[in-house]
Structures are given as C-alpha cells and as structure tokens.
C-alpha cells in the first residue's frame, strides 16, 4: 500500500467514526456526507472495506432496519470502544494538524 492511501485510510476511518457518532448512518448516506464535506477524492466504494474493518474491530455495529424509503438498510452506530477510538483520533489529529499546517505554509522555514 502506498503512503498516500495509508494516510488517507487512517484519516477516513476517523471521519467515518465522527459522522456515525452524530447519528446512525447507512452506507450511501455516509458517502454522500463525506462528499458533501468536500472529500471528493475518495471513491464512494472505498468506505465499505473500512466499514467492514471497523466492525471487525468492534468500533461500530450495524443493524438492518427498515428505512423511510422502504427497503431494509444497514444502519451503523458507534460502540463504546468506537467512542473511545474517536476521542483518540481527535486527540492525535489535533496534535498533528496545526504543526503540519504550519510546515506546509512556511515551506519548512523556521519561524
């Protein structure tokens, strides 16, 4: 796996956890939300392998429920493990984002 896709996957996992944390979400809805936030670089299908992995790691749980539109859909919600993982992600992200932003802006020149 390339560094780029590895980086993207980790970030995408955090974003997915954060969206599901807001309210139970199903696959298509999730991809629409991600795109709505501007993550158009991510192909829609790439969320499903991640959703499977998050389920395997017991961070999210999916249940098939009747949707308003009719057909049964798999809605995901966070487990308590998932909530913890989301907090950790936020912590890591907040500690890494400002310095990286600064480096990108100043091109590595010292302040």
């Amino acid at each position: 796996m390339t560094l780029r896709s590895q980086l993207l996957k980790g970030i995408l996992e955090g974003c997915i956890l954060a969206i599901i944390d807001q309210q139970p979400t199903y696959g298509y809805e999730l991809s629409v939300k991600l795109q709505g936030f501007g993550l158009t670089d991510v192909s829609e299908g790439s969320i499903y392998p991640i959703l499977l992995r998050l389920q395997k790691e017991d961070l999210i749980q999916g249940t098939l429920q009747k949707s308003e539109a009719g057909p049964k859909r798999k809605y995901y919600h966070l487990t308590s493990e998932g909530k913890k993982a989301l907090q950790e992600f936020k912590l890591h992200w907040n500690s890494i984002k400002p310095p990286v932003d600064k480096i990108m802006e100043k091109g590595g020149k010292y302040l």
Binding site: G27, Y28, S43, E44, G45, Y48, P71, K72
Partner: protein
C-alpha cells in the same frame, strides 16, 4: 435478519438495476460469494449494501465505475480481505449436513434399487454382504472427491466473473461436462476396484433404503432448524 432472508431481498432488489449495472453487480456478487470460508452473514450484508448503493447512485445518473473505480476485481479483493471468517460451528454444521445427506442418498438408492431389482426382475439377492472396511473407505474417498469437485466447480465459476469477452456456451458446456464426468467416473471406479476387507455383515438390502430415508429426514429437520441451505 438471517443471511437467507437477505439473499431473498437481494434477489428482489437486484431487478431494479439497469442492464449494464446488473452485469457488473452480478459479476461482483459471484466473485465475492464464491470466496469460501467467509462469514455468510457478513458477506450478504455487505452485498446488500453495495446493491443499495448502486441503486441510489443509478437514480442520480452515476456510473458503477464512479463508485468502485475501474478495477472491479481489485475492489472485490480488497473487500473480501476485510470480511471476517465463518464461525467454525457453522462450518461444522454445514459439513455434517452434507455428509448426512450424501450418505442418505447413496444408502437409499442402493437399498431401493437393489430391492426393486430383486423383487421385480429377480436380479441380485435381497441380502447384501456389507464389507465394513470397504464401505467405510469408499464413503470417505467419495466425500473427498465430492469436496474436490465442489472446489473445482466453484473455481471455474469464479474464473468466469469479470470476463469482458464471454466464452461460447458450447465450450462452457463441454468444460463442465468433462469435470462432472471425471468426478462421477472416479467415484464409480473406486467402488468397482476397492477390494473387500474388514468385518462382513449380511444385511437385508431393504435396510439400506430405510436407513437412507431416516437419514434424509434428519437432514431435512436439521436444515429447517438451522437454516443451512434456505
């Protein structure tokens, strides 16, 4: 929702796909389903999600390649990697079911046919000399052959997914005919050439039909109770 109910739902929903999308989706479905030893429940759930996604995207005029990228097979491989394995209790139940039903059919056909030949055409005897060692060995080898047969056919079907040029029907028929004939032939040959050994019992041939019928009944009850195939 049980995996079998999801399959049913999938069959109904799938008809709403456009012809082009249906072709792509069914290739993905075959390819993903036939990767063995993955949890059936998880497999069917994610397949339904993909279908649902394609239907919504289709309504908005998006193409399948917009969702999954150009490399469908690569996408499926990535997905399969993340599907958890099947529980060993489920595998054991499935194998037990197959073995019981296999022995049931062999036993019933052997008993009923032998009985009918003897009583209606006076061919053969109504007492069968069962050589335990031989019988047991043949069943084991036949089951192994059956396992191999299923593996080969599944591989063959899986290989047919994502082919841009569909091969000729007659060629496909010939390939499957050859595979089937080889396996059925080897089962017959093994029964024919296996020498008698082990304890020998004299059993009225109709007994096999009765045992077969009972085992078949058991397999049906098991299937109803645990929803093994439907």
């Amino acid at each position: 929702m049980n995996a079998k109910d999801i399959i049913q739902l999938n069959n109904e929903q799938r008809e709403k796909l456009s012809e082009e999308n249906l072709q792509i989706y069914e290739d993905m479905l075959i390819y993903i389903r036939l990767k063995s030893n993955k949890s059936e429940q998880q497999t069917e759930e994610v397949l339904l999600e993909l279908l649902d996604h394609m239907l919504e995207a289709q309504a908005e005029g998006k193409k399948a390649s917009d969702i999954f990228g150009e490399d469908y097979k690569g996408y499926c491989d990535e997905l399969i990697k993340e599907i958890p394995g099947e529980k060993s209790s489920t595998i054991a139940l499935f194998l037990g079911f197959i073995i019981i039903q296999f022995i049931a059919i062999i036993s019933f056909v052997h008993g009923a046919l032998g009985f009918a030949l003897h009583y209606f055409f006076e061919l053969g005897s109504d007492i069968f000399q069962l050589s335990l060692g031989k019988g047991f060995t043949i069943i084991i080898i036949d089951l192994l052959i059956l396992y191999l047969f299923v593996k080969v056919v599944l591989k063959w079907i899986q290989g047919s997914a994502f082919k841009t040029k569909k091969p000729k029907k007659s060629l496909e028929f010939f390939q499957i005919w050859l595979i089937s004939t080889t396996f059925i032939g080897s089962m017959v040959l093994i029964g024919y050439f296996m020498p008698d050994f082990g304890l020998t019992l004299d059993i009225p041939i109709i007994t096999f039909a009765v045992i077969g019928a009972i085992l078949y009944l058991i397999s049906i009850i098991l299937n109803k109770r645990y929803r093994i195939t439907k």
